[in-house]
Symmetry: C2
DNA sequence: ACCTGAACACCGTTCAAGT
DNA sequence: ACCTGAACACCGTTCAAGT
């Protein structure tokens, strides 16, 4: 019998619960899935789940922050050259694809939670600012290279592009039929960034 | 004792419940307010409330559709001349103001509900298409008058401007400090619409 | 025809008890 | 130290009974 517990256990349990929750949310959405269902999927008792998360909302918060971290990494790799607009368009395509169908609910659920939960809002705002700074830096680099002539300051252009990205993502869920969102996003980027050709 | 009930009663009761619900949602948000609280505010019993609405979600749906109808009317009055960009900017300012603070939760709550409730989604999509058509028509009028030279087709420009409008509105809730959303929105409209001066 | 309010079903969370 | 699962509190919804 060990004097100290396995120090990797907590992290493993958290991951196990998050994985189960992700599967449930994807299948049925945040509101629709029950803590009991997450427990069944993760094969733990409710008591165990509440040892690792203070509330059901904390689970979706953790998943949301993971997703933001990925987006941040993607922004960091943006090229400085002519390809900026195309890279942005590709990123938008990936973003829209990631929030297709059942995942669209996930996006709006997180937004709705963030408005209510100041802790989640702060955490998301921090991530968001990082992502926006990355994007602004990429725009500034491209501008210095003479590849684009942004209509706005790099910071303002970045904020505008992010706002439009999220707006298109949400509206895609509303009327998928008109979902040429990726094409429209490219046009928007083109006219806000004005590349040299 | 009347043979037939007052025919205006149902409409009055509905309005009475909606008004009470609006007050509660504004104060505490959709999730946080209880049907019991709405009943107390409206001075009806739960049984009476469920006579006029099938579910709590139906109440927020009714309020959402009212709000959309107002937006639609605003779009219809857009001028054809040079003032289009300024009119859009003013509308954006009003939109952002309407969804300030507690109301931001309302916006995201409705979005989250719409993703889950196909009926609400359809109803909102219908309203949205009407609003977008109005905006596209205003852009086309301004273009014919030579006041603007849209970078995209009027329809695409309208969709882009709506997506950005909603995106900015949502992000304003996230980091109100950076909320120069109205100014940014004006710049965006400017570069998508390219007015003649 | 319209309403009341007690009762029901369900679900997030806790906690005494176990190992 | 970590877990179980029964119990609790709460809230959306229903329905038998009233007028």
């Amino acid at each position: 019998m060990p004097r100290h517990a396995d120090p990797t256990l907590p992290a493993r349990r958290r991951a196990q619960i998050l994985e189960a929750a992700r599967a449930c949310f994807q299948a049925r959405g945040f509101r629709e899935t029950t803590v009991e269902e997450i427990c069944a999927e993760a094969r733990v008792s409710p008591g165990a789940l509440y040892r690792y998360f203070d509330a059901k909302a904390d689970i979706i918060a953790a998943i949301a922050l993971d997703a933001r971290a990925e987006a941040e990494a993607a922004f960091q790799e943006l090229e400085a050259g002519d390809a900026l607009v195309d890279a942005l368009a590709e990123m938008a395509r990936a973003y829209f694809a990631a929030f297709e169908g059942a995942e669209a609910a996930f996006l709006t659920d997180i937004w709705a939670e963030a408005v209510r939960d100041p802790g989640l809002a702060r955490a998301m705002a921090r991530r968001d600012e990082a992502a926006r700074a990355q994007l602004a830096a990429a725009i500034a680099r491209a501008a210095r290279a003479g590849a684009v002539y942004p209509a706005l300051s790099p910071e303002d252009a970045a904020e505008t592009l992010l706002a439009a990205l999220e707006g298109f993502a949400r509206r895609r869920g509303l009327h998928a039929a008109h979902g040429e969102a990726a094409r429209l996003y490219r046009s928007l980027a083109l006219h806000v960034l004005k590349p040299k050709r």
